[in-house]
Every structure is written in structure tokens, then in C-alpha cells.
Symmetry: C2
Subunit: 203 residues, 2 copies
């Protein structure tokens, strides 16, 4: 079965080549500004070929969303090694923001872009994101159990922290910080993260 093995491998490689080209283009120009023809040209095939590997443009989007979710998980998961829940939570937050700043295109894909979120094919991606979110909430709960917080409402605490981090990153990613001088923006974000931690200590 060596021939069919090779065929299968080639099929996967082609699929990946399409995704790689698409991701590069999306990062450069944004989802809507990239056409199937652009992607086809990048991989030096005809546009119709794309449709042999993906049902439509949305399916490419979903596949990339899954890749982005995996990159995010790999970026965040190392903090599971940190034993102290409060230190773990701090590092989780720091890395969440860091992920958004380092990969604005992927962050956009996961948390900002308007896309048909109800898709069934996208379930694996959804479950992946959900498990990371659960890890986050569990860490908050661990902080409560270790008496780092007086409040016992883990859900609301987690959500509140998330709101801040997401707001911070998405104002960056979508260029809504123009009232602050460019060279001050990063420092402001760092200060704000530190301020939120200080505030969280009083919860």
C-alpha cells in the first residue's frame, strides 16, 4: 500500500500548503481582502483546485481557526507547570496578552473576526478553545481554594479578567489606541495589566 500511502501524504501536504498560503495572506491583508484566486496563485495552482481540498472559503477559515487555537494552547499550556495558582494565573494572563500581541492575525481569527460560529465542522476547534477556557476557570477556582481571593464567584472573576485582557488585546489588534502616542502604547498596556493584578488581589 505504498502508492496510496504516498497519495495520502501528498494530499495532506497540498492541504497544508493551501492553509499556509492562506494564513500568510490573511495575516498580511485580512480575511475579506484575500481571494481564493490569491491563494491559488500563491501555491501556483488553479482556483478550482482549492475546491478539491476545501468545500468553500469558510472551511479554509475554520481550518485556520483550529490551527490558531492549537498555537494558542501551546503558548498558554506551559503555565500548568506552575504550582502556585496565583502565580499560574498571573503567568496565564501575561501569556494570553503576549499571544495576542505576537500573533494579531491568529487572535483576530479566534476572537474578533465575524464568522459563522455555529458551524458543526468546527467542533474540534471549539472543544480545544473550551478546554483552555476551562483550565483558566479552574486556575481561578484554585486561587479561591488557596484563599487568594475572598470572593467565591470563580466564574465572574474569570470572566472579568478575560474581559480586560481581551479588551486590551483587541484595542491593539484593531488599532483603536490612536489617542495614545505609539511609543507609549505598550507601556500603558503593561501598566494596565499590573494595575488589574493589584485590583484582583483585593477580590
Amino acid at each position: 500500500m505504498s502508492i496510496s500511502d504516498r497519495k495520502e501524504r501528498e494530499k495532506k501536504e497540498m492541504r497544508q500548503a493551501i492553509l499556509d498560503a492562506a494564513l500568510n495572506l490573511f495575516r498580511e491583508k485580512g480575511y475579506d481582502a484575500v481571494s481564493i484566486r490569491n491563494i491559488a496563485e500563491a501555491i501556483e495552482y488553479s482556483p478550482a483546485t482549492i475546491y478539491l481540498y476545501f468545500k468553500d472559503k469558510n472551511e479554509i477559515f475554520f481550518a485556520l481557526q483550529f490551527e490558531a487555537a492549537a498555537v494558542k494552547r501551546d503558548h498558554l499550556l506551559p503555565v500548568a507547570q506552575i504550582e502556585d495558582p496565583w502565580q499560574r494565573l498571573i503567568e496565564f494572563g501575561r501569556r494570553y496578552i503576549d499571544f495576542g500581541m505576537k500573533h494579531p492575525g491568529l487572535y483576530d481569527l479566534l476572537f474578533i473576526i465575524r464568522a459563522p460560529m455555529e458551524s458543526v465542522e468546527n467542533q474540534e476547534c471549539w472543544l480545544l478553545g473550551l478546554s483552555v477556557h476551562k483550565f483558566f476557570e479552574d486556575t481561578v477556582q484554585a486561587c479561591i481554594d488557596a484563599r487568594y481571593f475572598k470572593s467565591t464567584d470563580a466564574k465572574t472573576i474569570a470572566y472579568t479578567l478575560w474581559c480586560h485582557a481581551h479588551g486590551l488585546v483587541s484595542l491593539f489588534v484593531r488599532d483603536r489606541m490612536r489617542m495614545y502616542p505609539p511609543e507609549e502604547r505598550e507601556e500603558l498596556a503593561r501598566k494596565s495589566f499590573a494595575m488589574l493584578l493589584k485590583m484582583a488581589e483585593t477580590l
Copy 2:
């Protein structure tokens, strides 16, 4: 000059008719999903007519962004009547979130949609938004002056509060709260806002 008066009036009415139709369509289907032909059909004119009133689709977008900024200002400005700066700040935050929830299309237009933000024509809109942001920062400064906060870093405080509110609204607007049951989402947002206020009191 009654004829040229009428002409000018008609020109303004036509412009407004285009904007009204465009805004309705954008709200229903989102910016990218609405075509110039859709707008033209809605006002019962040919697509080419649109271009007599707007340079291109982006200019329609900018004009709507200005309208959205005005709606937002009218939604927020009444809080200027509140004398106590802390109460004013609370009500400002409440209304900011309320604006986002009530007008997700407008909020999207102002703070989320990817658009050429460097546009010069868009200056009036930008100045309008800037003045509201300044009012917000001034209110934070007033809280500091009235000893509601120990911290004196008005800029970082304002930015931190904004991050939370923007994060909260944009997770809503872009449908990223699917891990929470629909009927719990609003309450969670309310609880989170209350939690942030409690935290802010310790600043």
C-alpha cells in the same frame, strides 16, 4: 436663491437617504456583506448615483462612523450633569456598555471593524470620539482629585476601565460568549461590571 436652496436641501436629503439605507443594511448583514447595488436598490436608484454623493464605499463607512460617534456622544453626555465624579464615572461606564449592547452595529463600526483609520476625511469623527474620551479621562482625574482613588495615574486607570468595558461589549457583539448559556450572559456582564467597580474602589 430659493431654487438653489431647494437643490441643496434635496442633495442633503439624498445623502441622508443613502446613509439611512446603508446603516440599516449594515446592521442587518454587516459591512462586507452589503454591496453598493444593495444600497442603490434600497433607495430605488442606480448604483452609479451613489457615486455622485460618495467617493466610494469607504466614504459611506466614514460618514456612518461619524453618525455612530454622535449617537454614542448623545448616549453618554447626559452624565455630565452628575456632580459627584465617582457617580459620574459609574454612570458613564454603565451607559458605555449599554450603548454597545443596544447598538451593536454602531459599536462595531466605531471600535471593532477593520477600516482604514488613517483617513483624513474622517477627522471630524475622530475629534468627536477624542472629546468623549477626554471627558472620560477628566472624570477619572476628578475622582482622583476628590480622593476616590489613592493612585494618581489617571491615564492608566481610564485605560484599564476602558479595556474591561470594551472587552465585555466586544465579546458580546462578536459572539464569543458561547461557553456561557445565553440566559446567563447578561447577568454575568452585570456582575462583572459591578465587580470591576468594587475593584476600582481599591485603586
